[in-house]
């Protein structure tokens, strides 16, 4: 088992290198650099004028004139050797100061949605496999797809307006104002959970349908495998034998999909966060990309990707733990 994990971790390395490289290309693609955006933003509303020669000196200082590969190397080597993600131009702060809190919340939200999705998809998947082509099967399938079909951002906005008009509260954010600044406490946690469910559901709806289908399909394959009959011939009761054998086995692909769901959910979280005004990676990433705050944007994309790669790894390990065939080969 340990060797298996070790091997998978080794295999991650090239992927990670590639990711970091592509990430940097992506953030470098847009024309111009941060300072152009900066000047533009300053001179907006007929406000500031900036000393062009000062800007040039800044450009020198930040090495924005260096060739791509050198910039990349500076960035990545700092990350690897010093854990220094560079500096956010726009925020005038070390990227790492901005990064972790939001990444953390992003993943809390994503994982919460993941949990939600699986908790919903599993029973429904099992049900619609066992009651194949029953009314319930169709109904669930339909709502599953409905969730998939409604764009997240639209759903988010409508939900917010409704909750304003019906309950008179704005569900935006992850904390109530009184807790926003406060340090973590039980009360804050409660408040957090109270805010969590709306984004959780909104983000979740998109993936549920797919997973229901996966569970259903797999279970259908398993349901008429001989070993089910064996168990039946033993005198085991339907409910127990279905959960113990086919479901247990159909679980594997269901779990192995976990790794692929994560990126989707993180993306969903990014968009939804913008509408719901969540302090996650999404909003800040968007602005960072727009203002070409490349180290910030780059680091966000990088970390998100790395974490999803790790998520995939975890799901693989989980799978190996679930399925002896993988574990022992």
């Amino acid at each position: 088992m340990l060797r298996y994990i070790a091997r998978r971790i080794l295999l991650m390395i090239p992927t990670l290198i590639l990711i970091s490289f592509v990430t940097f290309i992506v953030v470098q693609l847009p024309p111009g650099d941060y300072l152009n955006a900066y000047v533009a933003q300053l001179t907006a509303e007929g406000g500031e004028t900036v000393d062009r020669q000062q800007i040039e000196m800044l450009r020198e200082r930040y090495g924005l004139n260096d060739p791509f590969i050198i910039q990349y190397w500076k960035w990545i080597s700092n990350i690897i050797f010093e854990g220094d993600f560079g500096r956010s131009f726009e925020w005038n702060a070390p990227v790492s100061d901005l990064l972790w809190g939001r990444i953390g919340l992003t993943f809390v939200v994503s994982l919460a949605s993941l949990l939600f999705v699986y908790c919903v998809a599993f029973p429904i998947g099992v049900y619609s496999a066992i009651r194949k082509y029953s009314l319930g099967d169709y109904v669930f399938t339909f709502f599953g797809f409905l969730g998939l079909a409604v764009p997240n951002f639209l759903l988010a906005l409508v939900l917010m307006v409704i909750s304003l008009q019906v309950f008179g509260v704005t569900p935006g954010g992850l904390f109530s104002p009184e807790y926003a600044g406060a340090p973590w406490s039980f009360a804050k946690l409660m408040d957090f959970l109270a805010h969590l469910w709306i984004p959780m559901i909104i983000i979740g709806t998109a993936s549920t349908a797919a997973l229901i289908r996966v569970m259903r399909a797999n279970l259908l394959d398993e349901l008429n495998k001989p070993y089910v009959e064996t168990a039946r011939a033993k005198g085991q009761s339907e409910a127990v034998l279905i959960m113990r054998y086919p479901v247990r086995i159909a679980l594997n692909p269901f779990v192995s999909r976990l790794g692929w769901e994560l990126p989707a959910l993180v993306s969903g979280a990014a968009i939804t966060s913008i509408v719901l005004n969540l302090p996650t990676a999404g909003p800040i990433l968007l602005t960072a990309l727009q203002s070409q705050d490349m180290f910030l944007a780059g680091s966000f994309i990088l970390i998100l990707s790395v974490l999803t790669v790790i998520g995939t790894l975890v799901s693989d390990i989980l799978l190996a733990w679930l399925d002896p065939r993988i574990r022992y080969s």
Binding site: T15, I19, V26, L29, L148, L289, I301
Partner: protein
Amino acid sequence: MAMTTDTATPLGPDDAPAIVAAQGAEVASQWKLMWWKFRRHKLAMASGVVVLVLYMIAIFAEVLAPADPNDFNPRFTYAPPQELRWSYVDDAGERQWGLHVNAYRTELDRETFRRTFVLDEEERIPVGFFVEGEPYLLLGLIPATVKLFGPEEVGAPFYIWGADRLGRDMFSRVIHGARVSLSIGLVGVFLSLFLGIVLGGISGYYGGWIDTAIQRLIEFIRSIPTIPLWMGLAAAIPLGFHPLMVYLIITAIVSLVGWTDLGREVRGRFLSIKDDDYVAAARLDGASEGRIILRHMAPSFLSHIIATVTLAIPSMILAETALSFLGIGLRPPVVSWGVLLQEAQNIRAVVTAPWLMVPGGAVVVAVLAFNFLGDGLRDAADPYSH
């Protein structure tokens, strides 16, 4: 299995397979069998029809849309939908038949800066079929002026799905939006299909280190959260580009992520088929590599690919809306469902002009239809399985 005797299923080798039951099945080709199997899938059938209709709409948008999607009208900003009526009571109190809508009386409230619209029971705008409209080019070549239906006098206010903030006809806009959104789905899918088949095919057919490499690549692409990737790439589009160019690039971006699923699918099929006896047999029949792949292998996974493709289209459509929402997708004057939704993406629309969210409905319908259709196709994809 080598030595099959009858297991639970009563259909042993010598009961001729169940599929033969249908009339003339002995000479029924794969596609016929698939069609028979698909036909039994009612929901899929219905969805298939819906999809067909949607594409018809997209193709003949000019004919179906009563107005030019970009015709604005200051007097009818945020005009609510008009009700199509079949009859009315004339001054003599007689019920008269005749398709019409009622004109609005509208005034601007200087305090709230809202236009209030009151249906004018008196003034009727007769609506007809195949009426004259603004001239256009059908399919981009045939000059025509006829509209399927619309107000009999050109330019009379006619907003059955309401108007947007510039007083443009939502109905016409949604119809024209279908063109871009649906084609993005299609073009995108074909781009990814191309990538998927080429890379997945190579990967599956040759295997070995190429396979491993391509698998890594897929794994890698899939491990990058799509939205940030799109944000980055889309932010990189030179915005001076012609809208059409942007459209193509966006499609490319969307499919750049989408192809991986297809890649895996194709590879999977290739792997499973390439060791099948009948492929070996074909080789022993002296068939060339090319013929083996095209004549012997392709048909058996084509059907599966088609199903997968169908299931991939909705995600493309949704991706387009997501990009537009982020303001990094298509832009006006291009009219796509995504663009329309972005314009509905504000409280005012939700509260005071809900009809602006009709495009959302369109997206939902399209996505649902494609999914159910794909489902049906997938079930029918292998007519030889019992």
